[in-house]
């Protein structure tokens, strides 16, 4: 069960490399949120309500509903062009994604050898997702796509925490998810302002400050 879900997550990363539409990227983020919820649930050994409510809040409410809603709201309100407009071709990003997967799996195998309490497949996909997030941030010039890259990176980090198979103290994971939500809100605020000040939301326009 876990393996199937993890592979689904990997497929969603591949889908993110092929798409050209912002809307589809947002849907991929929502699907990833649901996958993360199911994954966490399937890993729970003993059932308890507090934990269930907590995980549901973190993944279903925040990652699968609230954040995608905020993102599409941002796009609608700022009349952002609905295409991704990357600096590289789809073929190139798909090709790099394959390389990232290869690297991730190598890391996974390696991690499995060095530490018994790691789930290698999960670890590999988690690392791939983190790298994919960074790759999206590097190869795109739109601020909103950067934000989505950051979210994919965060999802990878969430997966990594599952791979490490250890429970965070509640206060820490609550703080973490609140921080992420807040950073999306603040970033959205800035995107709105940048749009109204610069009248476009490419980072090309954000290059006045340099030495």
């Amino acid at each position: 069960m876990t393996d199937v879900l993890v592979i689904l997550f990997g497929v969603s990363l591949l889908a993110a490399s092929t798409t050209n539409m912002l809307g589809k990227l947002i849907r991929i983020l929502a699907v990833q949120g649901v996958i993360l919820f199911l994954l966490t649930m399937s890993n729970i050994t003993e059932f308890n309500w507090v934990q269930l409510a907590f995980v549901a809040l973190e993944t279903l409410v925040f990652k699968a509903v609230l954040i995608p809603y905020l993102l599409s709201d941002m796009i609608r309100r700022n009349n952002i062009v609905r295409e991704v407009e990357p600096k590289v071709s789809n073929f190139f990003s798909l090709f790099t994604m394959t390389l990232i997967f290869a690297f991730g799996f190598l890391m996974g195998l390696w991690s499995g050898k060095n530490s018994p309490n790691v789930h290698p497949l999960l670890f590999g996909i988690a690392f791939s997702s983190i790298l994919k997030g960074l790759f999206i941030i590097i190869t795109n010039k739109k601020l909103i796509t950067h934000l989505m890259g950051y979210l994919i990176l965060e999802n990878g980090i969430f997966l990594l925490s599952l791979a490490a198979s250890r429970e965070m103290p509640y206060i820490v994971s609550l703080g973490v998810s609140l921080d992420i939500l807040l950073s999306i809100l603040v970033a959205g605020l800035f995107i709105n302002k940048i749009k109204s000040t610069f009248d476009e939301e490419d980072i090309d326009t954000l290059s006045d400050l340099k030495d």
Partner: protein, 467 residues
Amino acid sequence: MPIILIIPVLFTIIAWWMRKPMLNNTLMILHALIHIAMVPVLYFMPDFPWPIRYFTIDALGIFFYLILSVLYLATALYGVGFLKHPGRSHHTLTATSTMMFVFSMDGAFFADNLGLLWVFIETTTLASALLINYDQTRHSLEASWKYIFICSIGIALAFVGILLLFVAMPPESSLTFAWLVEHAGELSPFWLKISFVFLLIGFGTKLGLAPVHAWLPDAHSEAPAPVSALLSGALLNTALVPILRTMPVMQAAELLPMARNLLLLMGLLSVFIAAVFIVRIHNYKRILAYSSIENMGIVAIALGVGGMALNAMFIHLLGHSMIKGAFFLITGNVLRLYGSKDYREVKGLLERDSRTGWLWLAAFLLLSALPPSPLFFSEFQLALGMVGSGLVWQLALLLVLLTVVVYGMARVSMSMTMGRDNAERKITLPVYQWIIPALLLTAGIAALFMPGFLRNLIEQSVKMIGG
């Protein structure tokens, strides 16, 4: 401890509710006063009124708390008169963000758990991003976007470091520093090494260490003077806390040489980057920002050298916070007098406003580590420590780079303060605009005479991080 955390939250709620500029100012100054009044309470009665979970009061935390208290009071008093707000909600936003900013730094100083420390450091980013966009111009918007984005990614990488630490741990473990130090031997050295690299890169981003310093010059130069002072004097220290607290873990796991080499490398690189840029840029606030990168580089080097240099590191942190805080406040005066951040447009500062001119020169001399600056003693001790550890060529490189930095700053300072001033219109600055920086500079020098409790704090902190 509960008081420190409850007061700012309470005040923020009140300020947000009422939205009255007068009330905002009162609350902020009241918060600053309570903040500084809590220093002796923390020192003598750490458990007053009751101890709370997830936080420990120790010398390291109190040391940074003390620096923040002094700076916060100074910047709050300066800011109340200095910041001209376009509207009521802008005023409220600034006041609440400032209080939450200080709140999150306090939390970071005393958190006893790496995860919680991470949460507080991420919160500092969010709270201060709005402060950097105070002017609401194109440039400040750009600076705050870069700040929030680069720091968030950096901090996310630090979180990967924390997760890898989990992988390194045996079952039944916790993230508290006490546990980590005690059980460091049981951690897998392989994963601990990787984890430390991630932590260093992640928190190093916030600390402004090269090569991940890109946000720092932008944010420091675009923020208004009191905010820059807080960013440079307090926020950078906060980002150092997690690195300081993981050092004993590395020591107990016998991985100290690796950690030290990394810190030395990043420190030298930071000083190098600062030296390269300081001699060729024209924005005087950016020059000061690069000087912060340089000083954080020196701190990282001192941490990398260890031993006697650790004592030097704490003195350096204290001196740098006071002097750089004052210096950024002085740039507020200069900006008001000339309306430009380009040093070539600032001429004859001594004639236009002699007090600001002399303050500028004094701050420059102190920052260049001329005696009686505390930085002189710290850098001297650091040099001795480096020779003691056999790091001779690194020391030679450091000295050359520091000379370049001092040359670059001297060139700018001379060109700004000397010369004829041909302005017809005289602007007189209010008294507080020179008294507050002057007091801060004095505090920096006075720290040299080391009141007993300060020496005690530094000694205990050095012991904590393994001196």
